[in-house]
């Protein structure tokens, strides 16, 4: 079994988000870049599967769409344990564009794992789009994957509960929290080994973006919090009814 993990290069989740002066683009100055948190969990689970599968998982490959500066993120993925990285040398303009690029390198894998969203533009789309482009099955909101007798056993969250489901491979699993307990931290040995692992750079194909973000805005500023004394807590409920009118 060959596994491909789609990797997003996103600002650290503690980043205070800023935009440029005319609010047309994200201001990346001083930003720390990380593996998209859900992708990092997917990679962690893929490594666990590889280690416990008794050889059933032959290779774990990671891929992203990004310029040369995103290679640090791919190297981190290699340090966590991926065997090989592929970088498609283009700006990740929007979901359809990114999925079109990934479709050129994603055929031939039995399992592709994608994070349910990206922490920057929250597209929720690349994994599902890629599956449709490649004619692969997909399952979303996946919070667990096991391999049993060569078949995938999947836990997914549905609106109003959860399910255990089976789907034939090749499969795109769009994963969320729970897929791995916590992201794996690269060990020193892994970091050393990552330097000599293959990182292939692929040229992009022409694909016309169908959406674009023209401007950004911050959420409206909140008025000061109205503080109520601990022993007057009942007054707060009355304010919710009479002033905020939400009860």
């Amino acid at each position: 079994m060959k596994i491909l993990i789609l990797i997003g290069n996103v600002p650290d989740t503690t980043t205070k988000v800023k935009f440029n002066a005319d609010r047309t683009a994200f201001d990346a100055s001083g930003v720390q870049w990380i593996i998209n948190p859900w992708d990092e969990l997917a990679l962690t689970r893929a490594m666990e599967l590889k280690e416990t599968s008794g050889g059933a998982v032959e290779a774990v490959v990671v891929a992203n769409v990004g310029r040369a500066e995103t290679e640090a993120t791919l190297r981190k993925a290699l340090a966590i344990g991926a065997d090989k990285a592929i970088r498609i040398d283009a700006d990740p303009k929007e979901a359809g564009y990114v999925a079109s690029q990934l479709a050129t390198i994603a055929a031939g894998y039995d399992l592709i794992m994608a994070g349910i969203e990206a922490a920057d533009y929250n597209g929720n789309a690349v994994g599902g789009m890629l599956a449709e482009m490649l004619g692969m099955n997909s399952v979303s909101a996946v919070s667990g994957i096991q391999i049993e007798n060569g078949q995938l056993k999947i836990n997914r969250e549905i609106d109003g509960g959860s399910q255990v489901v089976g789907l034939p491979m090749p499969l795109v699993a769009i994963v969320q929290k729970g897929i791995a307990k916590e992201p794996r931290i690269p060990a020193m040995r892994g970091i050393m080994m990552a330097r000599s692992k293959p990182l292939e750079v692929v040229q992009p194909i022409d694909a016309a973006p169908m959406t674009n973000m023209v401007t950004f805005e911050m959420p409206p500023a909140k008025a000061a919090c109205k503080m109520i004394a601990e022993d007057q807590a009942k007054d707060l409920i009355h304010l919710l009814r009479d002033e905020a009118k939400v009860l």
Binding site: N122, N124, A141, M210, A244, V246
Partner: protein, 324 residues
């Protein structure tokens, strides 16, 4: 041309999210001078389907094939695509929930459509088609333009609300022609959350953080939630500790919610948590630390002990309820 919505059912019943989609699409379709059509897949009685017509949608395409209850992503995407072609849909709207997120990208590829997810409220303009979309997990919004002829969007729940507008009810059978090979998802086990309000559907959410001290201390929090008809949620450390299930985690790596009223008990308000709840209309925070960042995001706050505040809230809500 038309506006098509996919209205999902739960065991044959619609939830608020479907009525919000109907309200939204009716409003958008009116502005675009197009008809609005709802698609329902899986067994739903006409009496239930007719509820959509209370929110401005008369034309309803229905298919009662039980196989759709497997929530098979590929089959549902195919069926919506077939319906979209039949009614020449130029705008397709799905809910921004688990199923909508799973199906919309497949549908967008099938229809050669540009897709924007987590759309907030009405478009800014229809030409170019420009919508407000959450980015950076609730820390900001963008104005996104879809250039393609066919457009697919998922609507963030509670971002538009319900608009009652009773119209005629005109259901129509819709054949998909899908075979068994189109349904590949095999269900082995289903665990339904019963007797609880779904987080994405909840008008009020009661949430607890590390300040609750233990998973055993959720009794009063759940009592308050039950009294209010609210959903329950938690912060990341709580689900990481296993005090509550992952499905209740709200915040950057969990769920993004936007209820009318959000109660945060013992939650300090890390930036990752605030991203997930900042679109809530009113936030109430109770935390013993008066300098906790949650108070910067909150509308009402108590700097105090959650275990002293919760019983007072419960008593006050009982009084408010009994007084009508």
């Amino acid at each position: 041309m038309s506006v098509l919505i996919y209205t999902e059912n739960w065991d044959g019943k619609f939830k608020k999210v479907s009525f919000e989609l109907a309200s939204y699409a009716a409003t958008v379709a009116k502005a675009m001078q197009l008809p609005v059509i709802a698609l329902s897949l899986g067994p739903v009685d006409d009496s239930e389907l007719s509820k959509l017509s209370a929110y401005g949608v008369s034309h309803i395409m229905k298919n009662s094939d039980e196989r759709f209850n497997t929530l098979d992503n590929q089959a549902i995407a195919k069926a919506i695509a077939l319906a979209a072609e039949k009614v020449k849909a130029t705008l397709i709207v799905l809910a921004h929930n688990n199923l909508g997120k799973a199906v919309a990208p497949r549908l967008a590829v099938r229809q050669k459509a540009g897709m924007v997810s987590a759309v907030h409220g009405l478009p800014f303009s229809y030409d170019p088609f420009t919508v407000k979309k959450m980015v950076f997990t609730g820390k900001a919004f963008s104005h996104a333009v879809i250039h393609s002829g066919v457009k697919v969007i998922t609507l963030a729940s509670n971002s538009f609300g319900l608009v009652e507008n009773k119209v005629d009810f005109a259901p129509e059978a819709f054949e998909t022609g899908l075979g068994d090979a189109d349904f590949v998802t095999r269900i082995e086990q289903t665990n339904k959350i019963t007797g609880k309000v779904l987080l994405n559907d909840a008008d009020i959410v009661v949430s607890g953080g590390r300040g609750m001290k233990s998973g055993d201390n959720w009794g009063q929090l759940e009592e308050l939630a039950n009294l209010l008809g609210a959903g329950t949620a938690c912060s990341r450390p709580v689900s990481d500790e296993g005090w509550r299930p992952h499905s209740e985690h709200v915040g950057q790596t969990g769920k993004i919610i936007a209820p009318n009223l959000y109660f945060a008990f013992g939650i300090s308000g890390a930036i990752q948590h605030l991203g997930g709840v900042s679109s809530s209309k009113i936030i109430v925070a109770v935390n013993k630390d008066p300098d906790a960042p949650i108070f910067e995001a909150a509308d009402y706050g108590i700097a105090g002990d959650v275990f002293k505040v919760l019983p007072q809230f419960i008593e006050a809500v009982k009084e408010v309820k009994s007084n009508g």
